[in-house]
Symmetry: C2
Subunit: 454 residues, 2 copies
Amino acid sequence: MKKYDVVIIGAGPAGIITGVTAKKQNPDKSILMIREEEKGLVPCGIPYIFNNLNSVDKNSMGPKAFIDLGGEVRTDPVIDVNINNKIVKVQSGEQFSFEKLVFATGSKAVVASFIPGYDLKNVFYIRKSYNYIDHLFNELKDKKNIIIVGGGFIGAEMAEQLAMNTDKNISLIESEKFCFSKAFSHTLSEIATEELEKSNVNVHTSTLIEEVLGENGLVDGVRLNNNKEIKADAVIFAVGYKPNVEVAIKSGLQTNTTGAIIVDNYGRTLEDNIYAVGDCSQTLGFLTGRSDYIMLASTATAEARILGYNLFGIKIKNSFAGTIGVFSTKINELAMAAAGLNEKNAIPSNIDFITSQFSAFDRHPASIKDSSSLTVKLYVSPSDGSILGGEVWGGDSAGEIINIIGLAIQKEITIYELISFQIGTHPLLTSAPTMPVIIKAAELALSKIKSLKN
Amino acid sequence: MKKYDVVIIGAGPAGIITGVTAKKQNPDKSILMIREEEKGLVPCGIPYIFNNLNSVDKNSMGPKAFIDLGGEVRTDPVIDVNINNKIVKVQSGEQFSFEKLVFATGSKAVVASFIPGYDLKNVFYIRKSYNYIDHLFNELKDKKNIIIVGGGFIGAEMAEQLAMNTDKNISLIESEKFCFSKAFSHTLSEIATEELEKSNVNVHTSTLIEEVLGENGLVDGVRLNNNKEIKADAVIFAVGYKPNVEVAIKSGLQTNTTGAIIVDNYGRTLEDNIYAVGDCSQTLGFLTGRSDYIMLASTATAEARILGYNLFGIKIKNSFAGTIGVFSTKINELAMAAAGLNEKNAIPSNIDFITSQFSAFDRHPASIKDSSSLTVKLYVSPSDGSILGGEVWGGDSAGEIINIIGLAIQKEITIYELISFQIGTHPLLTSAPTMPVIIKAAELALSKIKSLKN
């Protein structure tokens, strides 16, 4: 039986970055990565396979950087882990012994077994599997009426992409009042939903699927809770993901209330030398320290970097105790992004906040060609003025401006500091120096806090 | 004689933001802003008047927000200030008395009196004056051969814009080896110069003007230090700006070695109740505390916000003791930006640094439509790993990524912290979560520091 210093289960973003980082730091350690399929996918790129990329292969991702550093990769699903004997067993029957083991098993699409008809032919999921998505890509080519259930990021983006430049009829069914409602504030989820409606997608919000309809085992529509029926050649469920932890649980690892493997700030499980990272591992909210559901490749890779550096002793401190959650997307030409707190998570957690909002153009003067509007909304602590959360929407630069806000949250920067924040501006690249969106929003928050205190 | 609580001299970005901020904080105070011309210009927008905007008026800027708040504006150049008697005198002869006075007089284009022929007809400058630029805009319409002297931001951007979609011959003369060499590192100023050469601009670097040539008082060319002559119908000098401090000096205010009015961190001059802000006021480098030449609208407005809040007592702390300088520009389709330290300012100041550089695409996967490359270069302190400076070039998001680096410098964030920096990523908006450019550059810097210590 071959023995490795480290075995990593999984070759998604968390597995790859853990492997690359650990191998770079410890070139003399033997590291094996075990994956389920030969090819991997960029998870957040999946919706774009269906239009922008128009190819599954263009969205593929693999552990090349890890292999280049001397890492080994095996394609053979792990079926069993023996923590006491430090042995991993794969489907083919082979076994590997390890000194340290990393679960980077990711998350898997929630199966809609609670909906009658969920098992009909042409009911699909948005699985993070190359082979599955390749199959889906081909299957959808000749389907005219497609229904997507679930208006979160993946569902909504998939609907938008499928509806672009096509004669297909795409419908999106969302149970909440607006799409994107898990990650975005009321304001932004409403804007995002309106934008989706402007695309070729038929958006049905505040709507539930009662049944997937079919004949001879084949999908032909859905019945909604308003008793309406919609015709469908394919139904795609995008109703969330859950940690992929079957093997981990079977091996005796403990999970938390959200079903994720319990780990500390350095990805260490309750068992010595056993680690977990990414979607399969516990996430704590940055303000509350409570278990949270954030599953993002960006968060996973941040955790993986920390784990990779610290697998053989804590060498680089983790600069965050809790996960902030920085989300972004683009529907039609509108980029939208959110970081940290909004009223959706603040109110249930009973966290005090005030908000402020400021809009300007993303170029200056506004008459510069290709100028778009840009809005920043800040969530600010009324006691100390620290930035708790923020949203940005408008032109593409929203995707990086949210990272300024993310950094401000992580470094506990206050609106009082932001007032004199030194920024760079340019007519062709940013808002005007007289109306830098984050700073102006900070000034409005300051006025609000001042008036509260008077 | 009318008396005001505050008189502000100047209606550029510094004057307007001081006025708006001060009036918002102190609605009961009477504030008068005195300007030289009826209309103002967005300073950094001036080059774009000549092509992108194709209009002077579209680049105009005025104190409307200040007036809306109840501020008063007078158009009448200030010719004299009596600090002891607290009186300002304008050209028409009228006088105003003040409680507090703010110099926001900006900077003015350096006149090329050191070059023979500088006073010929059709020698121009890039003055921050609406009337002058309006005149220049009209004058250049029928000029075919135009020479711009000075490859800093304004000169190079002006050259690029004038050369776009035109049959004019545009030449740019730069004394240094590369354009943009004051603000950008060797690496980036070389890249920027190559980009300029790809436009329709004839770029002459390492070249000096010996004489402006002419006949009958009219420009017809220039002679260079390599003895070559270039034909010209117009010559535009863009050889820098200097603080506009004549009235301030006459009034008895002290200036520093760079010719700017000496102020503290709150814009207070050495005289009670007399303030200076923006280009006319002293700038100190953020690391050295030495006098620096940074003149940017973004810096000026940051100073103006601090002054506006604190004119009647220090209420909001200034979060910076020195100016970082965040520069950005775009030539053709290449956005370029720099913040803080690079070898140009580090070596003369004897500041230790190491550099690291990382490139990726600004979308992911790289095959996403409209994906561009993106490079980040970091300047890092080898002793504590703090970020001292950075550069970003590639797609348009460089313009906001530099502000992440700017914030990192201001908050003294280290590469050790950046490793676990939580960011948001999206296929259509950012680099991949597996290769976030700033974090990857931080990792490379970390390896370098580690190898230095071994």
